[in-house]
């Protein structure tokens, strides 16, 4: 099991005739064969993805009707990306993954205003690496080989830092159910909390890695919900302890403004919710593995001591 994408997902690439769109469509198709075509306005016809011929449509509506697309990956330049997202939503595409970086905030505010009233269209990104269910479907720019099928759900605002965490898991033999990059912009589609809820409900996910960074309060919101409702263990890491206030750290959304959005405040909120926070980016994988081991030990202890006070023990386990 997984969230949002699997072997049945049928992906189109908006901007498939551009160099980046074509390059990544080729890689995604080689990974698990989910690509069914692309859209470039005015360029209907065919595109060659390293020997595989794919149909190109003028509009998303045609791609849905003729190729059965139910997901899209957007590589459209920033000035036109907001329009591309809304075109995909209008065509009834359920999952819209927007890789494009540098979309004006005002454009995204308009997009979200429309999507809020359009049930059934989920946006991931923009300015994100995309989403992957290892072995089943890859939509985005992440290197496929670093992933391994398994039961850890990964959520992150960044690209290479996610690869780092995923690689730590994979090289230690721990696989992932789905890895989702929600993007580094101040206004984005799927939030940390949305993704946590999806993983919490997914029977194929046993634990969650949440990677955040300075700026905004998305991590705090996720932490508050996890503390009250999440049934699964969560490990977190927050980047930007040393970031100076008032400066945008590469990502448009990574900025401490008016004293809000600091790494320290996020870590405090996460810890208060009983979430294990990795001290450094080098130990994200280790922190999860040792948490899972300690829970396993606690469970086997509980199983061997039938008269133990169940509720108290349960609570202490969760806090670890």
């Amino acid at each position: 099991m997984s969230i949002l994408v699997d072997k049945n997902t049928r992906v189109i690439f908006q901007g498939i005739t551009g160099s980046a769109g074509k390059f990544h469509a080729t890689h995604c198709h080689k990974y698990a064969g989910n690509v069914v075509g692309g859209v470039t306005p005015g360029r209907a016809g065919e595109v060659d993805l390293d020997g595989v011929k794919m149909p190109v449509f003028d509009t998303c509506a045609e791609a849905v009707k003729q190729a059965g697309a139910n997901a899209t990956c957007i590589f459209v330049p920033a000035a036109f990306a907001g329009d591309a997202i809304l075109e995909a939503a209008d065509a009834g595409i359920a999952l819209i993954v927007c890789i494009t970086e540098g979309i004006p905030v005002v454009d995204m505010v308009k997009v979200k205003r429309v999507l809020a009233e359009k049930k059934g269209a989920r946006l991931i990104g923009p300015n994100c690496p995309g989403i992957i269910t290892p072995g089943q479907c890859k939509i985005g720019i992440m290197p496929g080989y670093i992933h391994k099928p398994g039961r850890v759900g990964v959520i992150s605002r960044s690209g290479t830092l996610t690869y780092e965490a995923v690689w730590q898991l994979t090289t230690r033999g721990v696989g992932q159910s789905t890895c989702i990059g929600i993007g580094g912009d101040p206004v984005n589609g799927t939030s940390h909390l949305d993704a946590v809820k999806l993983f919490n409900d997914d029977p194929g996910t046993d634990s969650i890695v949440l990677i955040g960074e300075i700026g905004g309060s998305a991590e705090e919101e996720a932490a508050a919900w996890i503390g009250r409702h999440c049934k699964k263990p969560v490990v977190a890491y927050i980047a930007g302890m040393t970031a100076p206030p008032g400066r945008r750290m590469g990502h448009a959304g990574a900025v401490i403004s008016g004293g809000k959005g600091t790494a320290a405040a996020k870590i405090e909120a996460l810890r208060a919710a009983g979430i294990a926070v990795a001290e450094t980016p080098a130990v994200i994988g280790e922190t999860l593995i040792s948490l899972l081991k300690s829970r396993q030990r606690a469970r086997s202890r509980k199983a061997s001591v039938p008269n133990a006070k169940k509720p108290a023990q349960k609570k202490s386990v969760k806090r670890k």
């Binding site: 890689h27 920033a78 000035a79 540098g102 979309i103 004006p104 905030v105 005002v106 454009d107 995204m108 505010v109 308009k110 979200k112 205003r113 720019i141 290197p143 080989y145 670093i146 605002r157 960044s158 690209g159 290479t160 830092l161 996610t162 690869y163 780092e164 690689w167 580094g184 101040p186 206004v187 990677i211 960074e213 300075i214 700026g215 905004g216 309060s217 998305a218 919101e221 890491y237 980047a239 930007g240 302890m241 040393t242 970031a243 100076p244 400066r247 945008r248 750290m249 590469g250 990502h251 448009a252 959304g253 990574a254 008016g258 004293g259 001290e279 450094t280 980016p281 080098a282 130990v283």
Partner: protein
Amino acid sequence: MVQSGGVARTPEEAGARYDEIVAAFGSGAEIVVKAQIHAGGRGKGGGIKFARTREECVAAARKLIGMTLVTPQTGAQGRLVRSVLVVNAVTPQRELYFAVLLDRVLSRPVVIASTEGGMDIEGVAAKTPEKILKEVVDPALGMMPFQARKLCRALGLTGDLAAAGAKLMLSVYRLFWESDCSLVEINPLVITAGPDGKPCVLAMDAKINFDDNALYRHKDIAAMRDTNEEDPREVEASKNDLNYIGLDGTIGCMVNGAGLAMATMDIIKHYGGSPANFLDVGGGASVEQVTAAFKLLCGDKNVKALLVNIFGGIMKCDVLAAGIVGAAKAVHIPVPLVVRLEGTNVEQGRKMLKDSGLPIITATGMADAAEKVVRAAQQS
């Protein structure tokens, strides 16, 4: 409305601004001359002067232009004053606060007003949150006149002042939206006697932040960029499309990806070092970018050691290693260089670094890399 006057780059221009104000207000009007730098706290640093006569105004400008102004926000090195603002002095009867910004949780613009103008608004929000009035704007509609009237009423504005206040608020909202601002803050928004003696609403000071991603559609705003007010290292970096922020530590770092770059700074600190910068060379880390980045990092006199941390994703480690070796040979690197590569073909990549003949210290994992670079910086 705003104060009369304008910017002057020379004492002579300040005199001309004086004449314009006198033409509007009559002689005897009190004049303020304010140093124009990208930092607050100017009054405390002696960057604001008052004048009654033309001579006093020109003398104040002569004194300010060319001086290095040190304020609580500039740091000890201060900032060179290149221009001044010359305006008529205003005696506020009341100081209010008004701002438009983006609410990230709601993904909508919000309009904020407060009776506590002229002060640190974060402090007001923390101590007396009831004094912060907030209206959420539906982006499909824009700010509605009734929302402006509501805020004016809550600020205690009535009659003509309420009408003038609402008009100002709606105009500021339009500025925020149409110019792709991320913040427009009027602080203080004052009630003062107008030229006719009647009370009026006046925006006395303002801070406007723009969305960098939208500057392509506002050429006029982009043209206002003043690189004199920026860190020269950052100006150089932006010419090479590098995402760079200068800090004051001793370890220069080069990383691919913004999140990993922040995490690298953090782990340097964790192991007892201090990062000299944030630098994201992009997910692909091309040879050109790596070369430009090495030049930039080596130009920083504080840097005692370099750390390159690259996660080779789609770009394979052997290709990246070739790029690093090529760039390191092209640029003379006077300090120890620690390189940590991870990803596809990492063994080949590490071997290429080793065989290059360059004094590169290779590291495996971020912790190892941070430890090695901190040690190297302490020893050099």
